[in-house]
């Protein structure tokens, strides 16, 4: 194969990969999730959505035995009841942001197959007392939950 041919082939591969990533990325990523208001405006049963919002305080119920999880996602104006079977991530909690993947059931709730927790860009020490943090804290954590 000539140099030119190799270049064209390489260029085509790169452009193809880029084009695919941009196409797949932009079509999915730009509206990464819909808000509860957007979903409720015209919900299509059976269609795959990502739904993002705040886990409404007081709405979270989790049955550890059956792994039945239910909560309400809200954007302040509208809220959507969500049901899921499984264990939520550690950071998932009431009053925090979450993004769920799944479908609109058509029966008044969103059936989630994946729960993702959003976290904020704020970072702070657990007690507001930084002096004693660091090593000591880390070692304590490594010893297990009992000594925390």
């Amino acid at each position: 194969m000539s140099h030119r041919g190799k270049f064209l082939l390489g260029g085509a591969v790169i452009l193809g990969a880029l084009g695919y990533l941009v196409y797949a990325g932009v079509s999915q990523s730009v509206v990464y999730f819909v808000t509860p208001s957007e979903l409720q405006a015209q919900p299509v049963p059976g269609k795959a959505y990502r739904l993002g919002g705040l886990v409404a305080p007081g709405s979270l119920k989790w049955e550890a035995r059956s792994l039945d999880l239910s909560f309400v996602l809200s954007d302040g104006k509208t809220s959507v009841p969500v049901r899921h079977k499984g264990t939520p991530p550690d950071l998932f909690a009431e009053g925090r942001g979450a993004v769920v993947e799944g479908t609109w059931s058509g029966e008044g709730y969103f059936k989630a197959s994946l729960i993702m927790a959003k976290h904020s860009e704020e970072y702070k020490a657990p007690h507001g007392n930084e002096a004693q943090a660091g090593y000591k804290e880390l070692l304590n954590t490594l010893k297990g939950p009992g000594t925390r």
Binding site: V13, V22, G25, V99, K118, H119, G134, T141
Partner: protein, 215 residues
């Protein structure tokens, strides 16, 4: 000079480890997992610097046609790819325990993946070029176009809805971060930049010798 950079970088990494694990407190919400930040954030900042140098080297080469500029672009591109990979891997490891997923196609993650692929493509293009000068010219074009993606990656979390949280330190309005964490982060940023400079200076020497042999 290179040797001194190496020692400085090693010292910086040690200080960074001590700061990240010993000095900085764990995060109130995320716990110890948040310490991945001290690798994740400096990695992508270093990659930004590396790809900015690819842009500078590419422009320099196209204007002056001096191979030294091209060597700068090439070496910086190689190291930038390594640091982008480090960002993706550390981010994935951070994402699983916090978000609950290793990967999701939100704008930040997608644009970072594209950044990685573009510069892997850049290196691929370079490795296929058999004529030194023409290869350098083609690569320079990709090196310039690729830089468009840097601000897209950085601002993706502000422009679009994402799972990834907005920036904390390089953000328009300063988000709160415990001062001890910020100091630990800055030490690690300096450390990884030193590692970058060390690798860059090593690589530039090798590339110069290669060009001299060829000449």
């Amino acid at each position: 000079m290179t040797r001194w950079l190496g020692w400085l970088a090693a010292l910086g990494l040690l200080a960074g480890l001590a700061m990240g694990f010993g000095y900085a407190p764990k995060d109130a919400v995320q716990g110890n997992v948040q310490r991945i930040m001290y690798l994740h954030v400096p990695s992508i900042l270093t990659a930004y610097v590396a790809f900015a140098l690819v842009l500078a080297g590419s422009l320099g080469f196209l204007f002056t046609r001096r191979l030294a500029w091209d060597r700068l672009a090439h070496a910086a591109g190689e190291i930038g790819v390594v640091f982008t990979a480090l960002t993706l891997v550390s981010g994935s490891i951070w994402g699983k325990p916090t978000w609950g997923t290793w990967w999701t196609w939100d704008a930040r993650l997608t644009s970072t993946a594209i950044l990685f692929v573009v510069y892997v493509g850049y290196l691929l293009l370079r490795s296929m070029a058999e004529e030194r000068d023409r290869g350098a010219r083609y690569a320079a074009v990709v090196g310039i176009m690729g830089a468009v993606n840097i601000p897209i990656v950085h601002f993706s979390v502000l422009w679009w809805r994402t799972l990834h949280q907005p920036p904390t330190i390089l953000s328009p309005e300063r988000a709160p971060m415990a001062p001890a964490m910020l100091r630990a982060l800055l030490v690690n940023v300096v450390a990884l930049l030193l590692v970058f400079l060390y690798l860059l200076s090593k690589r530039l020497t090798v590339r110069r010798l290669e060009d001299e042999l060829r000449a």
